[in-house]
């Protein structure tokens, strides 16, 4: 259309002279018929020309519309609003839509062609993106509803089917890792597609389709896929795959929940297997190391692949807490692990690395429900370390105590600290003793005494045994020295906790230095004055209790490489009539032979049972104290609430058994601290 000044003036005049209606309807008619022609020509376009033709005509139409609008501007501003007609430009677009785009043939053909191109592109073909972009823009220009109804709606439907099929195909043919890679690729593709030639409003919709079809609908299959699913990713440390699964699954509802649940139950099972394996339980240090390794493995996975996600951290922690407490000996084993580290494992290790190991130990400690069991063992093991002088680093010991104090409070560690204090005090005491009496001691055996405060150290009442005469003198000197400085105190020698170094000369003159326990020393010294002694005679001479004596004689006569005594008969067991001889034929490659065992060891079954019983006994008053505390403040409380409150109060130390709590309540009722409420039998009442 050619614009001339004449047209403008004519148009202007027409409106002025109230011919606006005629002008407007004329516009409509003219444009409509013109567009009909165009529509026909588009419809008749063959094959690929169709889109190009459509595009070209559209561009022309737009140009024309601009001109027409300019020409009819006066009408657009005056007549159109007052008669509530559609403005010119909009009219032009609507007519294009109705006549061209929505012509029967064109409407469906346009849609099919566009969809077809998308599918081609998805299959790897290169398409004319510019053309696509223009036509999509055209639909948008015609109105969001046109875009949505004429294209987007169907696009989404078709995509759904496409991805449904594709995901099915891939699931059957790919392993999990590869499938996820493909899914990720498709997601990226679709985003890129949208950015290039679709309207941005479609992005979230198409992404949702891919997420649903490719991920959400196959979540369980993927996660549980044999040999390539989540579990094998963990087993083989496939961090890249894990990261991908995390990033993909977090897009869909419950995606991460499934990952987390599968992870949790796998960790629980792995842990449980570890705990129940009798082979693993034979070596406590190795057992704990495996626990730490397991934790490290999953910590790494969560850090590297799961974005340090807190819910996963929590799941890991609760899984560990679950299976560690399945093994009633975990507290003992963790203490043995610490003992091993502090006795030799941390030798030569730098300060920072020591802290790392201790922090890991604390982490395991936190998982324990029976912290009071750990305390008991830790105390025993610490005592042995201190008394045998076998600790790698004083700082490391103290550092751990500080960590325990921070975690559990002063009461937990006050006795432990007392043990350290005793060691220091004893050292000073010995210095004083030697300074004072050093000269007179001369040839006497060298004595080194540690004075232990009863109550701080793990109690094992030690009946007195007869110390050899050779050392009685110096022992007495020390006793009087000490009591001179601290009158009013009582000292008793703990014969089951000491050790001694003996110089022994054997048959052919070979000399050895024997490191033995106090009991062993008492036994061996007897052989300076006798060639042959029966077990019974030794018992009478030393006053060592028979069970301990038997163990002692076993360690002196029946252990290869350490048999400084000889037994007749040569049987494995010790009978009271058995005869013992000094073994002149003893040989050893080492000059110093260590026979005493003061080192912490895994308890035997009966010892374990005994320790547990003692701990259970200790717990009874603690439970009662907690019950009384709770009832004192609440005055009247229902049974279930008491159980809950008491459990909460005690959980820092151990998890009380509700049945035991009930029993304690009944004991308190009998002793008239509490009574049952007369009206409501579920309630208990505090009796002041």
């Amino acid at each position: 259309m050619q614009v001339t000044l004449g047209c403008l003036r004519n148009a202007y005049n027409m409106v002025l002279q109230k011919f606006g209606e005629k002008l407007y309807s004329g516009l409509v008619t003219t444009m409509t018929s013109h567009l009909r022609q165009i529509s026909q020509s588009i419809e008749s376009a063959q094959g690929e020309i169709f889109l190009e033709e459509l595009n070209r005509k559209w561009v022309e139409h737009n140009k024309a519309l601009l001109m027409i609008r300019d020409i009819l501007m006066y009408m657009d501003r005056t007549f159109v609003p007052s008669s509530r007609k559609t403005p010119v430009h909009e009219l032009g677009l609507n007519l294009w839509r109705d006549v061209v785009i929505h012509s029967n043939k064109t409407q469906s053909r346009l849609l099919d062609t566009l969809i077809d191109l998308v599918l081609k592109e998805r299959n790897g073909e290169v398409i004319n993106r510019g053309l696509m972009r223009n036509l999509i823009k055209m639909l948008m220009d015609l109105g969001l509803s046109v875009y949505q109804n004429d294209f987007e709606k169907h696009f989404i439907e078709v995509s759904k089917d496409f991805y449904c099929c594709e995901s099915q195909k891939f699931i059957e043919s790919c392993n999990c890792g590869d499938y996820l890679k493909k899914a990720e690729r498709r997601l990226n593709e679709e985003m890129e597609r949208v950015s290039h030639y679709l309207d941005p409003s479609s992005e979230s919709k198409i992404i949702k389709v891919v997420e649903t079809e490719m991920i959400e609908n196959h979540m369980h299959t993927l996660v549980h896929m044999e040999n390539s699913g989540l579990v094998s990713m963990f087993v083989d440390d496939k961090y890249e795959d894990l990261e991908r699964i995390y990033n993909l699954f977090r897009r869909v509802p419950s995606g991460l929940t499934i990952v987390k649940d599968v992870m949790t139950s796998f960790i629980r099972d792995t842990g449980k297997q570890l705990i129940m394996d009798p082979e693993r339980l034979k070596d406590p240090v190795d057992f704990v190391q495996r626990l730490l390794d397991l934790k490290d493995k999953y910590d790494k996975a969560i850090t590297l692949a799961f974005n340090n996600d807190k819910t996963f951290q929590n799941a890991l922690n609760s899984a560990f807490e679950y299976f560690i407490n399945l093994n009633a000996r975990s507290p003992e084993f963790i203490s043995l692990f610490v003992d091993d580290k502090l006795r030799r494992g941390l030798k030569g290790v730098g300060e920072e690395d020591v802290e790392i190991v201790l922090d890991k130990v604390m982490m395991l400690f936190r998982y324990l429900q029976e912290k009071d069991m750990f305390e008991k063992y830790y105390k025993q093991h610490l005592a042995k370390r201190l008394l045998s002088g076998k600790t790698v680093s004083d700082e490391a010991e103290r550092s751990l105590i500080v960590k325990l104090k921070t975690e559990c409070g002063y009461q937990f560690t006050s006795k432990l600290e007392g043990m350290f204090t005793d060691m220091k005090t004893s050292y000073d005491m010995m210095q004083g003793f030697l300074a004072c009496h050093g000269a007179e001691l001369g040839d006497s055996p060298t004595l080194s005494v540690q004075v232990l405060t009863t109550g701080s150290w793990p109690t094992q009442s030690s009946p007195q045994c007869n110390l050899p005469s050779e050392i009685l003198g110096v022992c007495e000197k020390f006793r009087s020295y000490y009591l001179g400085a601290h009158s009013g105190r009582r000292l008793s020698w703990q014969a089951n906790m000491g050790n001694a170094d003996l110089k022994a000369t054997f048959g052919k003159g070979q000399k050895h230095e024997l490191n033995v326990s106090t009991y062993q020393m008492c036994v061996l010294m007897l052989f300076n004055n006798a060639d042959r002694l029966s077990c019974k005679e030794i018992e009478q001479a030393t006053a060592i209790p028979m069970p301990d004596l038997k163990r002692c004689l076993q360690s002196l006569a029946l252990v290869k490489g350490k048999n400084v005594l000889r037994k007749e008969p040569m049987s494995k067991d010790i009978a009271e009539d058995d005869a013992f001889f000094f073994n002149d034929k003893f040989t050893s490659k080492l000059f110093k032979v260590k026979i005493g065992t003061v080192v912490a060891q895994r308890e035997s079954e009966p010892e374990n049972i005994e320790t547990r019983q003692r701990v259970e006994e200790d717990r009874k008053p603690q439970i009662e104290a907690a019950i009384v505390r709770v009832m004192k403040s609440r005055k009247i409380l229902e049974h279930n609430n008491i159980i809950a409150e008491v459990t909460k109060q005690l959980q820092a130390r151990f998890l009380p058994n509700p049945v035991v709590i009930k029993k304690r309540i009944e004991s308190l009722i009998e002793r008239e601290f509490l009574e049952r409420d007369k009206v409501d039998r579920k309630m208990y009442r505090y009796l002041a």
Binding site: E666, R676, R681
Partner: protein
């Protein structure tokens, strides 16, 4: 009210001779005080001269007279009515309390009062109190708080055997077979009574061990359930 009382043969009555009795009868004192005096005199027929109390022997004699076995539950009920404190003994005050309440001043009246007494005790409002009294009555030592299993079983059978025979028999069987408890205390004793009243038997469906039932009953129920399998 019938005046006069004929003494039953076989009673020894050393401290009151017939002339004194006539004197009392003829005097116009209040019926009440006469009743009280008869009650007192009845007391002294059974009481031990030196202790001034009716002792186990006296009780046995009383039982013979009212024709009730001394292990019968009704004697316990009588003791309850008297609020007797010590098992096997009745004091004068207790005797007075009991017989006055029963309006019995002779042996035959006492005997006749027994069925009503039983009815009174078995009334739900009273039975709980009687039940707990039965336990306390059996505590013989000063600081004693619990009763041995053997005695508990007997007491339980006596007191509850007719009301809840099944539960009592089973509980007794359980107590005799278990090793956890050598004695039973008041709390557990009362707990069993509640149990019989509140828990449906033999289904035990409404028993919840997580509630405040005494532990011994938790164990009993577990034992029962094992048995039922």
């Amino acid at each position: 009210m019938r005046r006069g009382s004929s003494k039953k043969s076989g009673q020894s009555n050393p401290s009151v001779n017939s002339s004194a009795a006539d004197l009392f009868r003829s005097a116009s004192s209040k019926a009440n005080s006469k009743e009280l005096e008869r009650i007192d005199s009845l007391f002294y027929t059974y009481a031990n001269g030196s202790s001034g109390l009716i002792d186990p022997e006296g009780i046995e004699a009383l039982c013979a007279d009212i024709e009730v076995d001394h292990t019968d539950l009704r004697i316990l009920m009588l003791a309850w009515k008297m609020k007797a404190e010590e098992q096997g003994y009745f004091t004068l005050d207790e005797w007075r309390r009991g017989l006055k309440a029963l309006r019995a001043d002779t042996v035959s009246k006492l005997k006749k009062a027994l069925p009503d007494l039983e009815k009174e005790v078995r009334r739900p409002s009273n039975f709980s109190d009687f039940y707990s009294y039965a336990f306390q009555y059996c505590l013989t030592e000063e600081k004693q708080k619990s009763i041995d299993i053997e005695s508990i079983c007997e007491l339980l059978t006596l007191v509850l055997g007719s009301t809840f025979p099944t539960q009592v028999n089973l509980f007794v069987e359980y107590l005799k077979n278990q090793n956890d408890y050598k004695v039973v205390n008041m709390d557990q004793w009362m707990g069993f009574f509640r149990f019989c009243n509140e828990i449906s038997f033999p289904s035990l469906s409404d028993y919840d061990p997580e509630l405040a039932w005494p532990l011994v009953l938790d164990n009993f129920v577990e034992w029962l359930r094992e048995k039922q399998k």
